[in-house]
Each structure stands twice: as C-alpha cells, then as structure tokens.
C-alpha cells in the first residue's frame, strides 16, 4: 500500500512538472514547483519509513524546508521585488510544449526499456519517470525566455535527479546529499543575485536580450 502511495506521489511529481510547463503565469509555475517538491518529499518519507533508512528522513525534511519552502519563497520574493512581468514568455506555445512533454515521457521509457531496472522497493516506472522530469526540466530551460523561468526549469531538473535518487538507491550517501542541497541552495541564491543584477543593468530579465556575444 505504502509503496503504491509512494509511486503515486512520484507520478504526481511528474504531473506537477507538466503543470509547470503548462502554466502561463510565473506564480503558477513557482507554486507547481513547490507542490512538486512537496510530493517528492512525501514520497521520500514513505520510502524512508518502508525501508527504515534514517538519513532519508533527513533528506525529506531538507526537501520540505529547502525546496518546498525556502526556494519558492525566494523566487516569489525576487519576482515581486524586481517587478517582473508575471507572464511566462515562451519560444514554443504552451499547447505544443505539453504535447512535447508526452513525447518526452515516451522517450524516457524507450530509453530504459532494455535495461530492466527496478529498485528494491519501487517498480519499474520510477526511473523513466524521473528521467522524463529531468528532460522536461531541460525542456523548460530551452523554451522559456525569462531568466527566472530558467531557474525554475533548472530546479525541476534537479528535482528529477532527486527523484531518481530516492527511487533507485533510496538516496545518496548522507554527506553527498548534504553537499547537493547546499549547492542547490547556494546556486539558487547566486542565480537570484544574477537576476537581480541583470534587472538592474538591463531593466529586464528576458534572456533574448542577452545576446551580445553573437558571432
């Protein structure tokens, strides 16, 4: 039962990543991200309890604090502070993007179909799902023009990796996990500073404008 529930949360995370793709407002994207992190944290907790791995609880807690609370709040803060236009600007229409996400999920299954993967607890589905979240994250980064949405895409990607971790090996070794969380946090802070500086210098954070190194 718990295993099924965990798998459900993981699937939910995939769903939220598609919501991020589908959202046309920045806040909606950030909220989706927070929900995604939340569902992953839930899945983690479930697996931790099934397998009784103590450090996974820590991971889940960190997930909850850092990714579901601090980072979304940070992003809200930056968006408000810099008066960023709330609309998400895309290179590909949202309709196409969502269709594309479906393709990505299919591709992920195709990719690992041969490998016969299953972890100790979770079923076969989890690895391809996490790969699709990763690629969807990358897809967001490729198609979304604003700097802040790119951060969002990156964070989705990162979540995908975390999903893969808990699904496959029930988390990485503790200090690696800690390092990763540290890095993500610092990375987001640095990226935030960059966004701040950029909006100061360019009055905009549309990456379309960042093409002075055109050759």
């Amino acid at each position: 039962m718990e295993v099924k529930l965990a798998e459900f949360f993981i699937a939910l995370a995939v769903f939220f990543s598609i919501t991020i793709v589908a959202s046309n407002r920045l806040f909606l994207g950030i909220k989706s991200y927070a929900l995604q992190s939340l569902s992953i944290a839930a899945a983690t907790t479930l697996i931790a309890s099934i397998e009784n791995i103590s450090h996974l609880f820590v991971s889940a807690l960190l997930m909850l604090i850092v990714k579901a609370c601090i980072i979304p709040l940070l992003l809200f803060y930056v968006t408000k502070k810099l008066n960023i236009q709330r609309k998400i600007e895309t290179n590909v229409t949202i309709f196409d993007s969502v269709i594309f996400c479906a393709l990505i999920v299919v591709f992920s299954y195709f990719l690992v179909a041969k490998f016969n993967l299953s972890s100790r607890v979770l079923g076969f589905n989890v690895i391809p799902l996490s790969i699709s979240v990763i690629i969807i994250g990358l897809f967001i980064m490729v198609t979304r023009r604003k700097a802040i949405t790119q951060i969002l895409g990156f964070l989705t990607l990162e979540n995908g990796i975390f999903m893969a971790e808990i699904a496959s090996t029930h988390g990485m070794p503790v200090f690696v996990e800690l390092g990763i969380f540290m890095d993500v946090l610092i990375g987001v802070i640095i990226a935030g500073i960059f966004v701040y500086r950029m909006s100061e210098t360019f009055n905009d954070i549309d990456t379309e404008k960042l093409t002075s190194f055109k050759e």
């Binding site: 290179n91 591709f107 195709f110 990719l111 041969k114 690629i135 990358l138 897809f139 980064m141 490729v142 198609t143 979304r144 023009r145 790119q150 990456t207 379309e208 960042l210 093409t211 002075s212 190194f213 055109k214 050759e215």
Partner: protein, 660 residues
Amino acid sequence: MINLFVVGISAVLLGAALQLTLPKKASLKLNYLSTAFGSLLVLTSSFLMLLKGYSNTFSFFSPIPLLKVSFHFDSLSEFFTFVISLVALSSAIYSVGYVEELVEEKKNVKLFNLLYSFFFVSMILVVTAWNGFYFLIVWELMSVLSYMMVSFDYKNRENEFAGYLYILMTHLGTAFIVISFVLLFLKAGTFDFNSFEKLSLSPQYALIVALCALIGFGMKAGIVPFHIWLPYAHPVAPSNVSALMSGVMIKTAIYMLLRFYFSFLPNLGINFGIFILTLGTLSALIGITYSFMQKDLKRLLAYSSIENIGIIFMGLGLTIIFNATGHQTLRDFTLVGVLFHTVNHASFKGLLFLASGAVLKSCHTKNIEKLGGLIKKMPTTALLFLIGSMAICALPPFNGFMSEWIVYQSLLSTFKLNNETVRLLSPLFAAALAVTGGLALATFVKAFGISFLGNPRSKHSENAEEVDTFMKTGMWILALTCIIFGIFPGLIFKLTEGFTGYVPTDNLFHLTSLIDGKSSVSNAAVLTALLTVFTISYLLIKADRTVYETWDCGLNEYNPKAQYTATGFSQPIRRIFSLILKPVRRVDVRRKAFKYYTQQMKVEEEVTPIFEKYLYLPTALSITKTADFVRSKIHCGNINAYLFYIALTLIATLIYINVR
C-alpha cells in the same frame, strides 16, 4: 673531422651568444664573422667527410616517448651540409656589410643576428637528423626561424602577409610530413631512420607514404601547385636570408625527398616517377613563365627558384623511373644530376639573391622599372649578377649547364626503356625543358639588361653606389663556385659518389653521358676555345672607337624613358601565353579638351597568378564562408539555443548508448 664540425657549429652559436653583449655595430661583425668561420669549418669538415666516406650516428635519448635526438652523418647528409655551409659562408661574409642597413633603420639587429645564426644551425640539424620526431622539431624550428626573419620588417604589410602565408603553408606541409612519418612508424615501430630504411612496404602503402611526403616536402620546396608562398616570402626577406632560403632551405626538402624515395621507399613504381617528372616539368614551365613577367627583381628570382626546383624534380622523377626499371647505372647518373643541380642552384641562386640585395641596398628599390645603368655605378655587382645569370641560364662554361645537361641526357636515355609512355613523353618533357631554358634566358636578359644596362630610369639608380668589400667577397665566393663546378664537374661526381654509387670513368673536366659513352661535354674545352678565339680576335681586330651619343632618330632630346621597360620586354611572351598568364591591362588616358590629343597615358599590365586566383582563393573563401555560416548559426548568443544543443546532444548520445 667530426670535431671540426662540432667546433664549427659551436663557433656559430658562441658568436651568436657573445654578440648580444656588444654594441650594435660590433655585434654585427662578431656574429657574422663567427658564423662565416663556423660555416667554413663545417664546409671543410663535410668536404673531408665526403672524400673519406665518413659515416656515423650519435644518439641521445629523451624521456619523451619515441623521441630520440640523433645525428647522423652519411654521404647524403654530408653533401647537403656541404651545400648549406657553402652558401652560409658567403652569405655570412656578405651580411657584415648588408645588415648595417638594419642598424641604420634602428631595427633590433642583435635579434636578427641571433635568428640568422640559429637558422643556419637549424638547417644543418635538419639534414643531420636521424629520427622522425626529432626531425620534425628541427624542421619546424627552421621554418619558424625563417618565418621570423621573413616578417622581421613587421611594420610592412607585404612582410606580414608573406610571413603568414609562408608559415601557414609550411604548417600545412608539416601535417603531411607528420602523416608520412607516422605511416612509416606504423610499420617500423620506431621513428629511427635506421628502421625506416629496413622496411619493405607493399607498393600501395609505399605510394601513399610517398604522396604524403611529396605534398609535405613539396610545400617547402615550392613545387607547383604548392609554390604560392615562395614568390611572396623570398622577396620580402632580407636578401642575405633570401639567399639562404632560396638557395638552401628549400633544398632541405629535396634532401628529405631523396631519403624517402631512395632510402625508405626504394620500390616506388614507374608511374610515380612519371608523376614526379610531370610535376617537375610543370613547375619548371610555370615557374619560369611567371618569373619572366615579374618587375620585382627578387620576386623574379623567387619564381625562378620554382623553375629550378622543377628541374630538380624532373631529375628526381627520372631517377625513380630508372630505379623502377632496374637501370642501375642510369639511376646513379641521374641522381648525380639531381644533387648537382641542387648544389648549382644553391650557388647561383644564392649569388643572384645576394647581388639583388646589393642592388636593393644601394638603390632602395627592387623594382626593375626604376633601375637601369647600374653597370657603371656598381661594376662588380653587375659582373657578379651576370655570372649568376649565365649560370642559371645553363650557359656553358658555367655550372648550371652541367647539371641541366645531365637531366637532358637522362631524358634522352629513356629511349632505352621498355615503357612506351616514358619513351613518348620524355622528348616532350625535353621540349618543355628547352622552352624553360629559352624563357630563362629571356628572364635573365631582362633582369640583367633592364636593371644594369642602359641609362638610369629613376633617382634610385642614379644615386647608386658600389657596395663594400664584405658584400663583394661574399658574392665572389659563390661566383667562383659557379665557375669551378662548371669547369670541374668531376668534383661533384667525386663528392656524391658515396650516395649515388656512380663512379665516373672520366677525369675532372669531362662529363660523358651513358647513352653510348661517346657523347660528352667539357666546359673546360669550350672555355679554352672561347678564350682563344676571343683573345685572337681581340688582338687582331683592334677596338678603336669613337664615343658618341645613342641614336635618337635625330631628335637630340634623348630621354631615358625612351628605353624599353621590363613590362614591355616581356610583353610578347605575355601575349603569346595569355592562356595561362591571363594578363590584365589597365590603360589610363588623360585627354585635353580636344579628344584626339592625349595629355598623359599610363599603361599597366599585370599577370594573374592563376593558382592563387582559381585554386587557393576560392578554396579559402569557401572555407571562411562556411565557417562564418556555421559560427553564426551555432553561436547565436541565445542561451535557450545553447541549452537546446545540450538537450539534443544528450538525447543523441542516449540513443546511441541504447542502440549499441
């Protein structure tokens, strides 16, 4: 002997190091005299080594894998050492006077001196190297040093372009040389030339190696169509350097080709020989045709180098043909011809470049159209230039004739072969060589006649002065060489005996061909006869002359501008050969109000360098265009696109992994 050699090289290096501490003028003397002294020692030692058949190898291991610093002395390398140090000797003595100009122009003379001495040493290292890896290092060292001297006058755009083109072509050539060495390495397991010599390769493999070597060394030698750098680089280099570059540096390529074709790959087929022969003929023809068209004295000489390299290649091709058909003696004989023309070209082209340097120093221009009448201002230089010209036109009794004669005789000897192609082609090649000879004559009549004879065409040549003793001495050494090798061809046969294995039956003066053993030439006899008739007629028919002005159709307003120009002189050939020369003519007419009277008219004629215009330029342009396109597409500056590349690459890689 080897000690003498080492002392010589160390003298050069020591001189180059010590001169850095001296003031400019003194540094110049010290450097060049020590170089001259060193090269004299090297010359002597290589001469002695050649006579005694000395052969030895010295190796020093390096921790870098496959690299071995090894020096080898055998008759071939000694012969080239001999040639290099001969030209270096005269050029060094010449430089004492010549380089003063750089002092006056406030250039960094000490650096130049250093480069010059190192350049000489690097050439010696090239011809004594005995390991492929090490060879490439010294080979490129030589190229880089010469490149630095070519572009020494860095402010000049011409030098900049010439240097760039030169080093680029050299680099391209080196890539092919690397391939040829590595191909040999694959079979031999080491880069030692020893092991290369022991290989027995399949014909196809050998052919690929031979072709790579041909392209690689052909770039350096300046064979058509890889010659394009040569007419730019040689003219802009200081003349003492051009003498070394044109006289001997491009010969180092010949040296390596000889090694490749006769030591490493002795089983090249007859068709490759025909190919080389054809290439050589083309070079000779194209080189001399363009040479005739030039107005720049040094560029004219540079193009003529292409011609002479072509003649050497003709000999090389014939040697391969004879080698393939098993005519051992003919092969040996022709090989002597190749080496003979190498040393000859070194001596007369060195001489001519030095002489043109003297003109340049004295008149500050290389443009023939602005010279004229120099024979009275610079009598010695004029005489020396004339000697060089006669030698390069292969006129008896000078040395050029002897080597060209051997090539002719080898071409003639092909009628003994069983190969129809060769038998039919070789008279045509002989005809091409004959045109080359005729055009060479025309070229040097133009070069000497327009620049030294008649009246000065500009202020440049009016104020010319004879150069100093050092420069004259340097040139005289080479001029004497031209005469000595012309009269004593047996000397070269003696010196090359070790490599070619050809033992002549004649004495020093006489040269007999192998067709029937009766056709022979003797410059000494011709010279004696000429001198006899000349003396008798001179004494009998006394020169009793009245001096009067040149006939100017009775107008009494003689103007030096009435003289034939260099452009005019070459016009008939330009018109006749317009198919390959593609002359471009610009006529600029300024009329007065009444349109039938022209006030001023300016006619300029130029030839199109076809290889550059129709081969290199389009290639380069299409490459840069493609590059521009690809660059602007890939580096569009948009981060989304950049991320997209990553995504795409990732997916492609994953698919690859999955499919495997």
